[in-house]
Symmetry: C2
Subunit: 704 residues, 2 copies
């Protein structure tokens, strides 16, 4: 279930450039620069502007970090269970564990309102490259130029918001090579309609994650509401009557989170030797900490399970990428490509003068980055994310009070006016906050600070205030009132005066560390980010010049189109066929003695005789996807749903740094298994009818 977007902020900070030449089914293409020619050449199929617009406006992004699609005219959204699980967990209580039991609302009235889920639909894309780039002049220092560009991005967003009332984000593409403005329709009244048991959604658990063959019903359904009624949406994806077959051309429309495919060699070495070792340490630490916390009681298990699975997923994902980086053969290919591009630049005096120093500029930036990385990580990154939700809420209150006094364009980006509604949705979320888990997480964060900085560091001593990490965490969590939504509202509405007057220990804690944290962030932005963007802008320009404009940028958690075909592969000399089926599910469980995480849920045991064992369950295709694509629809040439992306196989993990289609595969839930399970396992015929209402005749599971 890799495709959800829950990586560390540090990892997300690293975005880069597209590959110079595109082969095979490679690419996460922009909807305003689609791979029309490539698809025509490889598959003889024409994607029309109408087809693209329809797919674009049927695709959604969820604030929990994944993708989805509208699959009925009544606001019904399909996504992965693991994209929705954060909400499912928040909607659960000790008495009603929806992850364990699953959920189905037979009527609209039974649907459960999510505490803090935002769904957005991309409506319009405008190229604003010139406005952003021209905000910086040649005379400016790198850091001043960077600031000027950031301000212009906020200004453009603000203007757009005032003109259209739509959410507007300026997206940095090609790491500063281009800037596009994305306008979104945004919805915050979202309700849970249906989710199967976690036991079938994540059958095989961490053991089978990123593996194939696979047997997961990793789906769930939400409904968007507008004015307290189901959304009436013009665009939605129809359901394929027959599903897909081996060799079929299929498309994925979704939001890949981040890739680093044309990072310079020095940048890659920095990631390999400096950044990833630190990230891995953090991941192992957190995975073990969560496992230990969960072991203490059944209630702890319920509370922390979502974070735990997410961390396991991140670990497996990063391990795969890291293994790729540690392979000398992999780096050799990167070196060869870079050498070729640089030789072309150096051979042309004009290019050399304009772009020749881009690579060394990036290398210098990463060197500086390396010097500040550990301290930055110790303090929870740019957002002082030291552990737990209360810390981030206190941080948002304290920072917002300061930022709100500044002109919009001068603020830290996350406190700009155009992001306010999403910001408030999170800050005032009524989702439960568990004090014991908060204490655990903050203790771990404080201990981590001591481990990374050394226990005599002034910042650490200030953070502890003379106590042990656990004693300090207990004091803060048990002493704060921020667990109460009303108190957060009061402090938010009271602005700077209320924050200044507050004696809340968590607020005081954040205030004591905020200057240091902001200074680190500023140093990073001025000294690293600014240099890096300038360098990459040069590399990007050289790359367009040498390799042509027909390229896709690295992933940025914005809507992209990928194409590919349903196709098996060979692994260790063994043929892996593209489809699995329900019979395989029961067989796999038996092989593993039915033990966790290979237990078949009771409803499936009961329905076993009724189910068609030949129903296609999961399948693989060559589509180029990555984390963030979770929940993306897989559609056929007609634009009809044939599957639901939920994972990539183990070979796909190095896709972060480069695509290959020999053994890398995207893994999807087959549309036919979803309908079969709704009708025969979950007694959810009404939902199946709503989804397939557009079909010409009823679905027959397993038939083709």
């Amino acid at each position: 279930m890799k495709q959800i977007l829950k990586y560390s902020a540090a990892a997300l900070a690293l975005l880069c450039l597209a590959v110079p030449s595109v082969t095979a089914d490679e690419g996460m293409w922009l909807f305003n620069r689609p791979p029309t020619k490539q698809i025509k050449a490889r598959y003889g199929f024409d994607i029309t502007p109408q087809w693209l617009e329809h797919v674009q406006k049927s695709s959604v992004r969820l604030s929990s970090g994944g993708s989805g699609s509208l699959v009925s005219p009544n606001g019904l959204v399909m996504t992965n269970h693991h994209v929705g699980s954060d909400m499912i967990e928040k909607l659960s209580t000790a008495e009603r564990d929806l992850l364990k039991s699953g959920f189905y609302a037979k009527t609209n009235a039974d649907e459960l309102k999510c505490p803090d889920l935002e769904i957005v639909i991309l409506w319009e894309i405008i190229d604003v490259t010139d406005r952003v780039k021209n905000a910086a002049t040649a005379e400016m220092s790198s850091s001043d130029a960077n600031t000027a560009r950031r301000k212009m991005m906020t200004t453009i967003e603000q203007e757009s918001k005032e003109q259209t009332a739509m959410r507007s984000d300026v997206v940095t593409l090609w790491q500063g090579g281009r800037y596009h403005q994305y306008r979104y329709k945004s919805y915050t009244d979202v309700r849970l309609v249906m989710a199967p048991e976690k036991g079938i959604a994540f059958f095989g658990g961490d053991a089978d994650n990123f593996e194939y063959p696979r047997y997961d019903l990793d789906m769930c359904f939400f409904r968007i509401y507008e004015n307290d009624a189901p959304l009436k949406n013009e665009h939605y994806l129809k359901w394929s009557r027959n599903g897909c077959a081996d060799g079929d051309l299929v498309f994925v429309a979704g939001h890949p989170g981040s890739t680093q495919r044309l990072n310079t060699v020095d940048h890659i070495k920095f990631m390999r030797d400096v950044q990833y070792p630190l990230s891995m340490r953090t991941i192992w630490r957190r995975e073990v900490q969560l496992a230990t916390f969960m072991g203490r009681s059944e209630e702890n298990r319920r509370i922390a399970e979502g974070d735990f699975f997410s961390m396991q997923n991140t670990r497996k994902n990063f391990s795969g990428r890291f293994a790729g980086l540690q392979d000398p053969a992999f780096l050799a290919r990167k070196v060869a490509a870079e050498t070729k591009l640089r030789a072309a630049v150096d051979a042309n005096p004009e290019w050399k003068a304009k772009w020749g120093d881009g690579w060394s500029q990036i290398a210098n930036a990463k060197k500086l980055h390396g010097e500040m990385l550990v301290r930055f990580a110790a303090m929870g990154g740019s957002g002082l994310s030291l552990g737990g939700q209360l810390i981030t809420k206190a941080r948002d209150l304290v920072r917002n009070a300061d930022e709100a006094l500044k002109p919009n364009a001068d603020r830290l980006r996350e406190y700009r006016e155009t992001a306010r509604s999403s910001f408030e949705l999170g800050l005032f979320s009524p989702a439960p906050i568990h004090p014991e888990f908060e204490i655990e997480n903050l203790t771990a964060g404080l201990q981590n600070m001591g481990e990374l900085l050394g226990c005599e560091d002034p910042v650490y001593l200030k953070a502890l205030d003379g106590k042990s990490p656990r004693a300090r965490a207990e004091e803060l969590v048990l002493g704060t009132k921020l667990i109460d939504v009303a108190e957060r509202k009061r402090l938010y509405e009271g602005g700077k005066a209320a924050i200044d007057a507050s004696r809340d220990p968590m607020i005081l804690f954040i205030k004591s560390l905020d200057a240091e944290s902001r200074a680190s962030r500023k140093r990073y932005e001025d000294e690293v980010d600014a240099q890096e963007r300038e360098g990459y802008a040069k590399v990007a320009a050289a790359n367009f010049e040498v390799n042509g404009e027909d390229q896709y940028p690295d992933a940025t958690f914005t809507l992209r189109l990928s194409y590919g075909q349903v196709k098996g592969y060979v692994e260790n000399g063994k043929d892996i066929p593209p489809f699995t089926n329900f019979a395989g599910l029961f067989k796999r469980s038996e092989e593993r003695e039915g033990k966790y995480p290979f237990e078949i849920p009771a409803k499936w045991q009961a329905a076993r005789e009724k189910l068609n064992p030949n129903t296609p369950f999961n399948f693989v295709s060559t589509n180029d996807i990555i984390g963030g694509n979770s929940g993306s629809p897989v559609i056929d040439k007609q634009g009809e749903v044939v599957g639901l992306i939920f994972d990539g196989n183990i070979s796909s993990l190095v896709g972060n740094f480069g695509y290959e289609d020999v053994t890398s595969r995207a893994v999807s839930v087959d549309s036919r298994s979803m309908i079969e399970a709704m009708r025969k396992v979950y007694d959810a015929g009404t939902l199946a009818d709503e989804i397939t209402g557009s079909s010409r005749k009823p679905i027959e599971a397993g038939s083709r």
Copy 2:
């Protein structure tokens, strides 16, 4: 189950000094310097030389890293299940999983011979301080003096071995303040007699580990053989007829592994800020790696489970210690004690001249240690322990071939003649080696090397030989013949010529890295260890002078005596009574819904009605113990067995750095529960009869 000795080599390298003043039930006392006065003063009981000799010669140490005791005149040894589990795992196969099913040999003929377990009994102690110290002269440099002392230790051991034919170890006490020679009887034909299911031995798993109340039957029984017949031993512990009661004086005779109670403040800060963060990273990494490997199949689970539990145990142990170090109040006490001692030294000009620079010498040594620590860890420490058993076997073959050519006193300590029989036992062990697990472990070791050194380090590049870590590990593991005992024997017996001629890839791999590894080790010994020993010898001398001779040294995995009493405690305002019982076991399982690791094994379910629910199961006492004490007998004033140490509670973990008896407790299996379970659950009446043969009348479980 903390008390087994399975810490990292780095952790074990840190041994130090005893506390200056002893209060409460503190102390891990030498058998040749027993706490006679303290026990008399606190409990009015006289321990006689005869009592001490009998207890000493009834106590054993197991090469798997724990303690045990003789409990019958026929060589029967009692220890913990978790001390024996490494053997139990080695005696298991995919078809016969003894960890899962448990084991009981009804007759001697059914007993299972362990592939590589050595049991030793301490027979004699001789103070050799003067000989060792006088080997170094005042003119020598620190490193030359250190070498001279090491050579003298080997010479003394060799002489003793030639005179007595007994195994002889010179033990460094007070980190160089004293040197004692220990003579042992050694046995290598050891057979498994009885082990319960892991499910009851380690009931509650990692979740309940280091916690109390507790419900574990953490016992197992081996038998020592001599000339293919059960050992006829004069000394053994009789079984108490009635067990112990709240408030009883009890003793523990066992082998605490290591403590760092009088490390200097600078040394403690080094551990806190440099060493522990690196150790914790290694532990988290390994725990996650093992969990992932185990998840892949039932067979993997069986193969790796022992290592996994051991790593969880180490993690919980180190986390507890680390939390203590990160507590400012803890360090403040250490600073106060050191300030007082140094003031006393500085106030006396003669003392100041002799010992005054001891502290700064240690601080300098640790500074140098810090500079070499990461590289040392990356290369698997002084033993090139990069991952898996084959690597260490290849290392032993390569190094032994070189060392055997040198005079005995000049060799690396582990290849000295007196250690040869233990060395051969390990090298030629027929215990199974699993190639898949070897590949996994070596891959992880190579990746770790890259993470710590950076992937362009010459040593890393040499180790990989142009391949990825996994490809290289596969090449080495699948290419070597060392998995075959006969091949190891051939290379061992062929000596240097055979090693030089070998094309075995694992041998060549070790040869390519050995020079670098030996150089690091030499640098550590000459620059760090030598300085540190000199410094600690001064601090120890000052300490004896200022605080008197009546002290115990830090733990060194040699036999010690601790005293204390059976006693509950108060935690978070709640009374924790000293005893649990069988009824509590069933209750605890129900609370946790009978889920792993809280499942009651089938035999216990079946025997539930027969068992006396009031049988005392586990109990706590104030004895001062630490890792390595696992399996130690708990005895009463008569020297009779009342329990079996298997853990300490969470408060006891900081015991590594200092003892307190307010909430710190040792945790034992009650002798009565062992007999009750043998008779009613395991149909092992013969074994119970052998053990209790010395009792005056039959044991009645639960009665007092």
